[in-house]
């Protein structure tokens, strides 16, 4: 009996390793192809640029993975990002001497509050995640426009210290990348080695069983959306600092990029599974695509459709792989 379980486990990890390896091979192939078309692609400068651009995406991807693991989805993060970015931009433009760390803190707090509201709606009021986040997406977007009065906060209104968040470096690593790495380390520990982290997966793979075994599913769901909001808030400040402008329509539709990165990274949309190593590759692949398409002269108007097709193909491939694994397991049981 235990042998079968062990064998099954081996088989499953084998498949998921294979998927990540496949993703890695795909990334390398893609890079080589793009490099052949445009030799500027694999220069140190461009790679640095690309990773810097991917940093914000990858921060959001961690939160989205947790949300998707609990069988949910969060469409409101683009708006949360814009709202917290706008609030912190307005604050620093009013108080030029504000310490950048305080600005980051402020954005994160706003994001946490936004996420907390979404979490309440999903966990306590038991609204479907898609409906709750679709509604709040518009509320937060509307609020962003309202507090800014429809105006931009542009580079010259921001103090240099605030803009320096994205350009300075810690230990020789750009701050954006540094923060992303830090978050990945924290969350790797959190979801793999803490009880609360494991509970997220339990809730995602079988909510009923999780409830019966004494896990407070409401609390876990609420926490997951709050974490997502906090990360979106943090990303909002970084975004505004990086682009040195805050607008009402900042990051509109960015939630799709984040979901795409998760799905590419092998996070199962039906909940219960998803790995940190997978989403690193997922965000990297999406970052490379976003960077490479303009370099090989693909019209910007094609990018949206290409991205949509990639998401669709990725989820279908995931589904087919899972079908295959399930069938193999079933056959083994028969013997």
């Amino acid at each position: 009996m235990s042998e079968i379980v062990l064998e099954k486990k081996l088989k499953v990890t084998g498949i998921s390793k294979f998927r990540e390896l496949g993703l890695l091979v795909f990334i390398i192939l893609l890079s080589v192809l793009v490099q052949l078309r445009n030799p500027n692609f694999l220069t140190l400068e461009n790679i640095n640029d690309m990773i810097k651009n991917t940093a914000i995406l990858s921060i959001l991807t961690v939160g989205m993975m947790l949300v998707i693991v609990t069988r949910g989805i969060d469409l409101s993060i683009g708006s949360t990002l814009a709202l917290s970015g706008m609030v912190s931009a307005l604050t620093v433009s009013a108080n030029m001497n504000l310490h950048p760390l305080l600005a980051i803190l402020l954005g994160t707090v706003i994001g946490t509050a936004c996420g907390c509201i979404v979490g309440f709606l999903v966990s306590k009021a038991r609204i479907l995640p898609i409906i709750a986040t679709l509604g709040m997406m518009n509320v937060y977007r509307g609020l962003t426009f309202m507090i800014s009065g429809g105006k931009w906060v542009s580079a010259h209104q921001m103090p240099a210290s605030f803009k320096a968040i994205a350009t300075s470096s810690i230990l020789g690593i750009n701050v954006l990348i540094f923060i992303a790495i830090l978050i990945y380390i924290i969350f790797y520990y959190f979801i793999n080695h803490t009880r609360t982290g494991r509970q997220i997966y339990a809730v995602g793979s079988n909510p009923e069983a999780a409830t019966i075994s004494g896990i407070n599913t409401v609390k876990v769901l609420w926490m997951v959306y709050t974490i997502m909001g906090a990360l979106a808030g943090l990303a909002g400040v970084l975004w505004v600092s990086k682009f040195a402008s805050a607008q009402g329509d900042t990051a509109m539709g960015y939630e799709m990029d984040v979901i795409a990165a998760c799905v590419l990274g092998g996070v199962n949309i039906a909940g219960g599974s998803g790995k940190i190593s997978g989403i690193i590759l997922g965000s990297l692949l999406l970052g490379i695509l976003n960077n490479a398409l303009p370099l090989i002269n693909v019209s910007p108007f094609w990018q949206e459709a290409i991205q949509g097709v990639i998401i669709l193909v990725a989820v279908i491939v995931n589904a087919l792989v899972k079908r295959n694994v399930d069938r193999k397991n079933l056959m083994r049981r028969k013997i």
Partner: protein, 335 residues
């Protein structure tokens, strides 16, 4: 004991008649009309209210099939992109390919239907994928194709008679209202008076049980998503006619309005509940609310917030109602 339960249920039903969600909507509708009338002295006459319907009825066509989709327990967020794609294809086939306008209009409907069919097939062929993720990716793809076709251009210059669809009158009543009334009757009969409609409810309540009792679950689901595509094509016709030209970013955010209308109309997002009459009432509630706020010069961003909150609150209310209802019943049986 048994008798008591039945008696309790009977009493509950009588009460239910007066506490139906639809009466609540009628009440809200009257209140909105009173507020609108107090805002503008020209509002409260038959002609002006009838004319007001022209401003919001275009998206109402999608509300009807969306009610079916949500009764199934699914969701379709690709409808707005379908509207954009079919509208753009129509404009291009008339303006650039030189096809006659009548044919272009047929093509518009065909494109919409095809989009819906693709959604339906993907959802039924890959059961591992939820409707959320499938329509999320097709939402990006359809809008992306619209961008590929028209880039950032607008396409207009339709023949004079085409504007009749959106702005014409038949005997003092807007043409669009008449067409909507016809579709509403058809969809109402389909849902409430045919075996097809009964099966939709059955599937919404328990899809596995429906499959085992011989309902062709996949076929019905595909038909419903195709209907949603077709009606998006109809919306594209009226919307394009109303605006006189089209762009790839047309109808952005319609999915929110449409889903909000359906949910406010008393259709439960957990499936199996809801009536067409409620959704029709809620079309007028949201439509006239928007119109009234427009009279008062409320900015569009404020509308975003209001509609978003309305959606969330509308979903929250029945959730609370179900809870108290259950408690009520339990209490009764115990006594």
């Amino acid at each position: 004991m048994e008798k008591r339960i039945i008696a309790a249920q009977k009493e509950f039903n009588l009460r239910k008649f007066f506490f139906q969600w639809e009466w609540m909507l009628v009440l809200i509708l009257i209140i909105i009309n009173i507020i609108n009338a107090s805002l503008s002295p020209y509002y409260l006459n038959f002609k002006s209210i009838i004319d007001a319907t022209m401003t919001f009825l275009d998206k109402a066509f999608i509300v009807l099939p969306m009610a079916f989709v949500i009764i199934l327990g699914d969701i379709d967020i690709s409808v707005a992109s379908t509207v954009a794609l079919s509208s753009v294809v129509m404009a291009v086939s008339y303006n650039n390919l030189g096809l006659p306008m009548e044919l272009a209009m047929v093509i518009c409907l065909v494109v919409g239907t095809l989009c819906g069919l693709i959604n339906g097939l993907l959802i039924t062929k890959f059961k591992e994928l939820s409707a959320v993720i499938v329509t999320l990716s097709t939402m990006i793809i359809y809008r992306g194709i619209a961008y590929i076709i028209l880039e950032d251009q607008a396409s207009g210059k339709f023949p004079q008679w085409f504007s009749y669809l959106g702005w014409g009158y038949v005997g003092g009543i807007p043409f669009i209202l008449i067409v909507f009334a016809i579709f509403a009757v058809i969809f109402g009969l389909l849902l409430h008076k045919t075996t097809f409609g009964r099966r939709v409810y059955a599937m919404g309540n328990n899809i596995t049980a429906s499959r085992f009792s011989g309902v062709q679950v996949d076929k019905i689901k595909t038909v419903i998503f195709t209907l949603a595509g077709f009606m998006s094509g109809v919306t594209a016709l009226f919307l394009t006619s109303k605006m006189g030209s089209t762009r790839p970013n047309v109808a952005t955010g319609y999915e929110l309005d449409v889903i909000a209308m359906v949910v406010l109309g008393g259709v439960s997002t957990s499936g199996g509940k809801g009536r067409i009459i409620g959704t029709i009432l809620s079309i007028f509630v949201i439509g006239l609310l928007r119109y009234g706020l427009g009279l008062k010069n409320v900015p569009a961003q404020m509308l975003l917030i209001i509609i978003g909150l309305l959606l969330v609150i509308a979903v929250m209310i029945p959730n609370i109602k179900i809870n108290t209802g259950k408690a009520h019943k339990l209490h009764k049986t115990k006594a």
